[in-house]
Amino acid sequence: MAELTELGIAEARNLLAKGSFSSRELTESHIAAVAEASALNAMVTETPEIALAMAEASDERRRKGEAGALEGIPLAIKDLFCTKGVLTTAGSHILDGFTPPYESTVTANLWREGGVMLGKTNMDEFAMGSSNETSYHGAVQNPWRRRGDNRALVPGGSSGGSATAVSGRFAMGATATDTGGSIRQPASFTGTVGCKPTYGRCSRWGVVAFASSLDQAGPITRSVRDNAIMLGAMAGYDPKDSTSARVALPDFEAALTGDVRGLRIGVPKEYVLDGMPGEIEALWQLGIGWLREAGAEIIDISLPHTKYALPAYYIVAPAEASSNLARYDGVRFGLRVPGEDLTEMYENTRAAGFGPEVRRRVLIGTYVLSAGYYDAYYLKAQKVRRLIAQDFRDVYGTVDAILTPSAPSAAFAFGDKADDPIAMYLNDVFTVPANLAGLPGISIPAGLSDDGLPLGLQVLAPAFDEETMFRVAGVLEEAAAFAETPEEWWRSS
């Protein structure tokens, strides 16, 4: 039944509805694929018993004619989402053994729609990273390798485990989160589709917080249609999250009309970077051509403060993180390393519990908020953030969506950037502005690099206009006809 893992969510949904196979069969094949993929280290916790029980319950509901939007579909869940009774670590040592007595709103929504949980995916510690090298559980390997080169590559981050599970065909879709690009960049690195919806579209309740004003959950899938289906199931207003938007939830799948005639697509000149690989630039031009051919109007635009998005982000996100991560103190849950007194217990626990990148960001965040520095750093960054958001507002008067590359490079090798935080941070240069402005963005695989690695294009849209985002992404997907898959080298190993 290995071929069942090749199916997308939309196809599987239709075949399940026809009775071609059961959710139990579909789930079993995925459980087997998960087990075979252990070399990729994409899963922190596998939950085959839960998956089978959920699949059986799903088949039962289907028999009763009560199928939800994701009825019987096996999914992987980023370990940042709290799952009731199932270990949740956020990729950190400090959450050792933490078993939440509660279920995040997003995952609860997925189960309500019939989704089946295969397990929890590996990730950069507290979602801080762009390569998955900061996970306490060890790095995830990208299913893709360079042509003729066996060296392991990073899957991107922080949702590298989720992207890998979907790319490697052992989950049909996966939840992910994106604070500065953590859905779109790994999607780009693994040849998958990853969408960060508008801030407030998905509830943050029950999602371990990294940077509250930037964090958004979204799906990683293998097609734009699957993505639209899954986002529809995850999203929705949640009164338990004060930043959740009380807006109507459209039928995202219905937005895939395949028609972009007359749409105005902005191409921001500031996204042309010095030293950007020619293949990225070439792919972008290809995408522009596809949309123009499909009848869209291409408009050159300027987002003048783009350059400042990354440094502003590296103030705002660590500042919020330094406060959000204060609750990991060894008192109520997770790791505790004893000390002579309470203060020493805190310091020992947090020194042992946090890895170097988390520590670095907590220290930066503490510094920029500390007495005497708040105005120069945090306040300054929040002002620049307004300018960045204003840039988008200004252009969305004249364009309907924006097309950019997803990331400035293809997947890189382990250790390539691990010693240079700023080089690592630059991975998010194209994705961070949408987080600062709270706007939706999607990365779709659009081609291969010269050495055979997937490259993504990003579509950005105005706030709460994921429909236009999906519509454009669907047309690009069709034009790109990206059909390559990674060789399943991990199965033989």
Partner: protein, 95 residues
């Protein structure tokens, strides 16, 4: 702004992260590098720009004053490294 060892030690203590003496110097260099990179923001004139507190224009929504939570002591202390009689326990604090 470049930070020195003493600053790193102060910040680490504020953040309650134990940092060994030998780690202070490399951390100071690392943090200084990041801060210097961040400071390109100073090129931007923000004098007339109000800070952005939230991407939403909305105000805060309020909930009704209803008791619909709590009464779950077991759940609250279930993950505690040290708990006794329904309390969390920590090393003795002297005020």
């Amino acid at each position: 702004m470049s930070v020195d060892k003493a600053t790193v030690a102060r910040i680490a203590h504020l953040a309650r992260i134990g940092v060994g003496e030998e780690e202070l110097e490399p951390l100071a260099a690392e943090l200084s590098g990041i801060l210097q990179w961040i400071e390109q923001l100073n090129e931007v004139d923000t004098d007339a720009v109000p800070p952005m507190a939230s991407v939403h224009d909305e105000g805060l929504r309020w909930r009704g004053d209803v008791v619909n939570d709590g009464d779950k002591q077991a759940d609250i202390v279930a993950n505690a490294p040290d708990a006794a009689n329904g309390f969390f326990a920590v090393p003795k604090v002297i005020e």
